[in-house]
């Protein structure tokens, strides 16, 4: 395939006019307090921080900065609420969760716009992926609340107590749902700390709890930064810690809870391998590669950030991939036609930039489709590195950005060896028309989620979580309940 032909897909005739989603569906207050014991309140220390839109750096709101005293108040509220909440019949807890699910559905467009503003991801994703999954997650665990004796944790499993939950900025509301839904279904109460750069959807969720009539103190939201999170997971009256974020912080938390009776689940980093065999359904494999690394700007722990392609089809796959990348639309996250939005923060952009430069310096070949990046905000063009070896930093370290490292393999054994050759073990993809090979590789891959002829699929019924340094415990499905239940 020559380049002149493959380049023809950058249309000049049919340019889509701007199609911005309306901002007016969401009403962001100039400032937000902490949500503790059913009320919004200022932080004890009176400190605040701002949250900005990563797409244009506009200040969206001012948010209370929670510190140790605030965390303590929140944990106490959760502790107080625990007695009645855990004693409620499951049927009643179920109905609260069903209410939340329904309100999320009703307000999903508002929440999608809000999430896009605060996070920078395209409205297409918040509208079509994040929000439907949030609602579905609450629906699913709502149904478990009155069926806990079937969860595989004994005939009469007990909740653990107060759950300390710390969620990241890449899927702020979805990660909140993954944490809060099973915790409440099982009868726990929660204190949740959203990420510093994306606190707004959690605060809107607090309002949803109020609309649903959720008893006060069952859900508490404490906004802040890493210190806030550390205070939360270190609080003595917390009996469960759930964290999603970087492996480095996950290890720190594991050290913090050592020697306590706190239960811990961790969803950490990854360096997922997407393995493409020569008999793959090629067009769909290309879509899977693109979705695997450019969904949410690659800021996904289970991203297919390494493409392992069988050497015999390397050129063909790369040609098709580049042709497809030329059609990606990078820009205004609120535009309904945008495929790739903004990087969440300047800090994250710096890390991506640094690793991409390391890739070049180490001799890998860098390529990006022609695309104009906006002047304001945090942006990084979709990038592909070819000629990458296992020893390159971009093959080993999690970039957490729209950067794909392409490696080759010759045999299934080599593919598995390379895929497993990282400290991580979260996700992997296999592309081949041969069913028995899929199952063999799936057995051999040391990863918590293996997608075959698809990628980045999520469902509330399906357990998600990692091997090795990608963390432990599972979220989603029946297995996800175990993290919040004591066998009895």
């Amino acid at each position: 395939m020559n380049d002149q032909q493959s380049g023809s897909t950058t249309s000049t005739l049919f340019g889509y006019a701007p199609a911005p989603e309306s901002r007016s569906v969401v009403d962001i207050a100039p400032s937000y307090g902490l949500f503790i014991d059913g009320e919004f309140r200022e932080a004890a220390g009176g400190k605040v921080f701002t949250t900005r839109s990563p797409a244009d750096e506009e200040v969206l709101s001012e948010v209370a900065y929670g510190q140790a005293d605030d965390v303590d108040a929140a944990v106490r509220a959760a502790r107080a609420a625990f007695e009645t909440w855990s004693a409620l019949p499951g049927t009643e807890r179920a109905k609260y969760l069903f209410r939340i699910a329904r309100i999320v559905q009703e307000r999903s467009r508002e929440l999608a716009v809000l999430e896009t503003l605060d996070n920078g991801k395209p409205i297409r994703e918040t509208r079509d992926a994040d929000l439907p999954l949030v609602a579905a997650h609450f629906f699913y665990y709502a149904g478990w609340a009155d069926k806990l004796s079937y969860a595989g944790c004994g005939p009469d499993p007990r909740p653990l107590g107060v759950a300390a939950q710390v969620v990241p900025w890449n899927f702020p509301l979805l990660m909140l749902a993954w944490k809060i839904a099973p915790a409440l279904a099982a009868g726990n109460t929660v204190v949740l700390k959203p990420a510093e750069t994306t606190p707004l959807s959690a605060l809107f969720f607090a309002d949803i709890c109020r609309q649903a009539g959720l008893p006060k103190g069952v859900v508490n939201i404490v906004t802040g930064d890493g210190a806030t999170g550390a205070a939360l997971v270190g609080h003595p009256d917390v009996h469960k810690v759930a964290f999603t974020g970087s492996t480095a912080v996950g290890k720190e938390i594991a050290r913090t809870v050592a020697g306590t009776d706190k239960r811990l689940t961790l969803e950490l980093g990854g360096k997922g391998a997407n393995i493409v065999f020569e008999d793959a359904p090629l067009d769909q494999a290309v879509e899977g590669i693109v979705g695997g690394i450019f969904f949410n700007q690659g800021q996904v722990c289970c991203a297919g950030s390494r493409l392992l392609v069988q050497e015999s089809v390397h050129d063909e796959v790369l040609d098709a991939l580049k042709r497809r990348l030329r059609t990606l639309r990078v820009g205004d996250p609120l535009d309904k036609n945008t495929d790739v939005g903004a990087i969440n923060s300047a800090e994250q952009l710096a890390r991506i930039t640094e690793l991409a430069e390391a890739g070049e310096a180490e001799g890998a070949e860098r390529w990006s489709p022609p695309c104009e990046l906006p002047e304001r905000g945090h942006w990084f063009a979709p990038t592909v590195f070819t000629g990458v070896g296992q020893a390159h930093r971009i093959a080993q370290e999690e970039i957490f950005g729209p950067v794909l490292s392409v490696l080759t393999f010759r045999t299934p054994e080599e593919a598995v060896a390379k895929a497993n050759n990282t400290p991580y073990g979260l996700s992997a993809g296999i592309w081949t028309e041969k069913g028995s090979r899929i199952l063999k590789l799936a057995n051999q891959l040391r990863a918590g989620v293996v997608w075959a002829n698809t990628f980045n699929k999520f469902d509330p019924t399906s357990p998600f979580g990692g091997y090795k340094e990608s963390g432990y415990g599972r979220e989603g499905g029946r297995h996800g309940l175990e993290a919040y239940l004591e066998h009895a």
């Binding site: 179920a94 629906f139 149904g143 009155d146 028995s436 199952l439 019924t461």
Partner: protein, 299 residues
Amino acid sequence: MSTPEARTSPARGARLSVLKTYKLYVGGTFPRSESGRVYEVTDAKGQWLANAPRASRKDARDAVVAARKAFGGWSGATAYNRGQILYRVAEMLEGRREQFAAEVAAAEGLSKAKAQARTDAAIDRWVWYAGWSDKVAQVVGGGNPVAGPFFNLSTPEPTGVVAVLAPQNASLLGLVSVLAPVIVTGNTAVVVAAQDAPLPALSLAEVLATSDLPGGVVNVLSGGTAELARPLAAHQDVNAIDLAGADPEPATELERAAADNLKRVLRPAPEGVDWAAEPGLERMTAFLETKTVWHPIGA
């Protein structure tokens, strides 16, 4: 509202209520019986409530056709989708809570408070089953560690068209307790309402018709249980029958008739059922098949 009070003549000057015509529910529409027959439905004190359609064997046949037609779509819908629709049914039930409580009170001769409690339990029961749609496979299915290089997975699948004889003594709670477990897993149903207390069932049909439930997934017949049970038990295109509402002796006859095409049969409990107790999985698993898939594992 069809409370007995509403059906009596009003005092001078008061408003005369509009009575509801009760109809069958077949294939998403509300026909009268093809036979043109009705029968008197009275409250527990013998006071007239309504003329209910007395369905014929031909109505039963039409209902089976409708149920079969709906089976492909309903069983092929995602479990999530079915769960959403069933939860919507619960929402609509809640919206008509007062009406159902009144109908249950009249049908079963219960106090207002007791009838309300039964109705609430019926709504909660519906919610309970709605939640099973995407969980039952996780509890009764699973991977099997066969001794060889094979992937081996067992999953439950709905058995098909299920005839349901609703309990005679629990017009709404009993009905919900036998109907919801049949359809939540993807079966379609032909329900014969409690013979002497069919009105809550016929009103439930109105709820189902406005809850995004595809037409034909549930078909509701009123009339003589024995008259309708016989053709359903013998019907070659019915896959299973729940005999909850059959008397012991005819139940045996019906089970024998059902053996002709090896229908799955759920027998009536001889000592009766406490419809208020949490039911367990049996009413779902009774109408599920287990499918096991083998696939080699090798690079």
